[in-house]
């Protein structure tokens, strides 16, 4: 099914003084798609989300939001909602007051409470609707921020780290809301450092590193970019398993500083492509060594992210 693009960006550039935050970024997000934006700190994610929300304007390039080109002046496009750097909420007001004020500013009837109540219910905050948010946890604030975005029934929802601080129940609420919105045709662009969230929610991801796109496409394709992975191997005979692993072509056994996980005498960490791992399993079975556990040390998505961005080696400050 053909979906119209909610966001179409070509060659977007943005600098803050001497710091290049975005360097020729292309971005395509279709309506009804949940699109993940990932990258190490300083990659330019927040800057890109800010452009989508109309909080900043690009220095160059072309950006279309919901089918209309974005201009050079600060302006929030109609049908766009969301938040960057956490939801901006007023601690001296209750959850309901925060949302009612927002609804009023957006032009809805201030006396109409149904929309506010619905939004609070969707994110599971009905019970604390009349509490001042001064006492809310980070996760509750995140959910309220999402409720604020829902008030306007957006066609493009922009969320910066929406799962930040959420407990499992809160995460479930947020994931359900985002999935339902996408099913109804809303395009969602979200940033996250949690690859499991991205894997659960996103159909496509864009990986940024130092302001440039290093990957853009389906999540499944990103996982394939991971190359050789470390696998944790627990067997009935570690010594025999070690010997078999050394004899398996294309495989090497990680030792000492190679190992990214906590050392364990019974656990073997092997590194190699998927065919070599498959060959190892066959050889172990032939050698009467029972395989109790075989799993990647780092998830494929995360491994792909680390490989593409070189993250872990850099610790740059996030560009606003």
């Amino acid at each position: 099914m053909h979906r119209s693009p909610a966001v179409r960006g070509r060659g977007i550039t943005k600098s803050f003084g001497d710091v290049v935050a975005l360097d020729g970024v292309d971005l395509d997000v279709a309506s009804g798609q949940v699109h993940g934006l990932v990258g190490p700190n300083g990659a330019g994610k927040t800057t890109l989300l800010g452009l989508l929300l109309g909080l900043a304007v690009a220095d160059g390039g072309r950006l279309e939001i919901l089918g209309t080109p974005v201009g050079r002046t600060l302006a929030v496009a109609d049908g766009v909602a969301g938040f960057v750097d956490g939801p901006g909420l007023y601690p001296s007001l209750t959850a309901r007051q925060n949302l009612s004020a927002l609804a009023s500013l957006r032009g809805y009837d201030a006396g109409r409470t149904a929309g506010v109540d619905d939004a609070l219910e969707q994110v599971g905050l009905t019970d604390v609707a009349d509490d001042r948010i001064r006492g809310f946890s980070l996760g509750m604030r995140q959910r309220l921020g999402l409720a604020a975005a829902l008030l306007t029934t957006p066609r493009l929802l922009v969320l910066d780290e929406p799962a930040n601080g959420l407990d499992p129940a809160g995460k479930h609420h947020v994931h359900r809301v985002i999935t339902e919105l996408a099913a109804d045709g809303t395009a969602v662009v979200l940033s996250s450092h949690r690859m499991d969230d991205l894997a659960a929610l996103c159909s496509e991801v864009t990986v940024l590193a130092t302001g440039r796109v290093v990957f853009s496409g389906p999540v499944s394709k990103l996982a394939a970019e991971s190359g050789e992975l470390d696998y944790r191997l627990l067997t009935s005979d570690p010594a025999a398993a070690h010997r078999v692993a050394l004899e398996t072509p294309g495989l090497r056994v990680a030792t000492g500083r190679d190992r990214v996980e906590r050392p364990d005498a019974d656990v073997l960490v092997v590194r190699g492509p998927v065919p070599a791992i498959e060959e190892l399993v066959v050889r172990l079975v032939r050698a009467d060594v029972a395989v109790r556990e075989l799993a990647p040390v780092v998830a494929p998505l995360e491994a792909a992210f680390l490989a593409l961005t070189g993250a872990g080696q850099t610790d740059e400050k996030d560009v606003p």
Binding site: G54, V70, G71, F83, D85, G107, P320
Partner: protein
């Protein structure tokens, strides 16, 4: 490649100013600090005035303080004089000085911009909400002070700063007018607060700007500045309301003070508006505009002071400190004549008019080696007057402490029956002696007879 120019259709309509204003008002009024201030302004003055009015010791160092036993209207003026020194600058600091900085502290600018969609409207809404809260605070100070005075002492005539008597209705109108006049410098300080709040971001310096400026200006006003410079300061209208309580009204300094204050309010607001619209809201670490504060904020206001001082010195007869021998003598003689009539009525003597008294004063400052002009507590005056049918000329001596703003306290030093003692013996018992000590106000802009 450059970003394309967008057709206007992509932009959502900004939130109406009225709704933004309402939201800003809700935010302000939900702060415990603002609620405490409102409560204090609506209750504390009444309690203070009522309590002081019932005590034997009165705040005679404050203008109208010595009349708090005589009329309820004096209490509201004592509150006014106290407020203009400390309360109003502090109130503007706490309300206007924080209204923009609060969004920096809470990290809500992006949220607000997405919701309102117009930095211009955000500025207008915040400005109007600040103004509303300040008006509520000033209304509380006014109403509470009046209520406390009237409840404790009653609705009686008020003695003006030239000794003439204002009827209760006249006093009510003039007291309200005086409070209204003080709104102009309050607006000026509020605009400074907005400017500080916009320019200095989350820095606490933004909050302190109006209070620090008020402190600095108060120090400046203690100095014997040329009258043109004095009138060019935005705080002058905090003092110029006193001119309403003379007859005729000392309109010159008051009108100039109001104009200067409103000019400051306008210029500071415009500067704050300009800085606000130029701000980069994507910078989360924004901590003020630094050097730009000096260039875009302080320098234009310093220029405004200089320009105003030049205009005042050219367009008015202002010279030197504005406190000259002839003016002091005229003011003292007028006040003495009015108060003499008041004493005459207290003593149930036959009434005399000011014209019949033909009171004159002869003043000298600091002896022969000092010029007879300028502020100081070394003014010594001899007041002479005539009584109908009597050939003898009455004389009374006064020591005057004249401050740089034109206010003076005349301390009687003569016969006990005239001005030498704080009480006079009336047919109904001892009563306060209006001629013993009294306040006066020299019109800094009046032309002297020499001119």
């Amino acid at each position: 490649m450059t970003a394309t120019v967008a057709p206007s259709s992509v932009e959502a309509r900004p939130a109406p100013v009225l709704r933004g204003y309402r939201f800003e008002l809700v935010k302000l009024l939900s702060q415990w600090r603002i609620r405490v201030l409102l409560l204090a302004c609506w209750i504390a003055p009444a309690g203070f005035v009522a309590a002081v009015s019932l005590q034997s010791q009165l705040p005679a160092d404050t203008v109208f303080g010595r009349w708090m036993h005589a009329t309820g209207w004096a209490g509201a003026l004592v509150v006014l004089d106290f407020s203009r020194s400390w309360a109003l600058p502090l109130l503007t600091a706490l309300v206007a000085g924080d209204v923009f900085a609060a969004e920096d502290r809470l990290g809500t600018w992006r949220h607000l911009l997405v919701a309102v969609r117009s930095p211009r409207r955000i500025f207008v809404a915040k400005g109007l909400a600040t103004l509303t809260v300040l008006l509520l605070l000033v209304a509380g100070l006014t109403g509470s002070g009046i209520a406390g005075g009237l409840a404790a002492v009653g609705d009686r005539p008020l003695v003006g700063l030239d000794g003439h008597l204002l009827t209760p209705a006249g006093a009510a109108g003039t007291v309200l007018l005086a409070w209204a006049c003080v709104l102009a410098p309050t607006l000026a300080f509020a605009a400074i607060g907005l400017l500080g709040s916009v320019a200095l971001g989350r820095s606490t310096m933004g909050l302190l700007v109006p209070a620090l400026l008020a402190f600095a200006l108060q120090l400046a006003q203690l100095l014997p500045l040329p009258v043109a410079v004095r009138l060019a300061l935005p705080s002058h209208a905090f003092l110029a309301w006193r001119g309403l309580f003379t007859s005729p009204v000392q309109a010159g300094p008051l009108l100039i003070g109001l104009a200067v204050s409103l000019a400051w309010a306008g210029v500071a607001t415009a500067l704050a508006y300009r800085l606000f619209l130029r701000r980069d809201f994507t910078d989360l670490a924004y901590d003020g505009s630094g050097r730009r504060v000096l260039v875009a904020g302080a320098l234009p206001l310093a220029g405004l002071v200089a320009l105003t001082a030049v205009v005042v010195s050219v367009a008015t007869p202002a010279k030197g400190s504005g406190i000259e021998q002839a003016k002091v003598q005229d003011s003292l003689a007028t006040a003495y004549a009015h108060l003499y009539r008041l004493q005459t009525r207290e003593l149930h003597r036959p009434d005399v008019t000011e014209a019949q008294l033909r009171a004159t004063a002869s003043c000298d400052k600091g002896g022969d080696r000092v010029l007879d002009e300028g502020p100081g507590n070394d003014w010594r005056c001899v007041v002479s007057w005539h009584l109908p049918g009597a050939t003898a000329v009455g004389t009374a001596i006064y020591q005057l402490d004249v401050t740089a703003d034109g206010r003076y306290v005349a301390d009687g030093d003569g016969p006990k029956e005239v001005n030498g003692y704080f009480q006079v013996r009336t047919p109904t018992g001892d009563a306060p002696n209006p001629l013993w000590q009294f306040d006066g106000n020299v019109d800094l802009l009046a032309s002297t007879s020499k001119d």
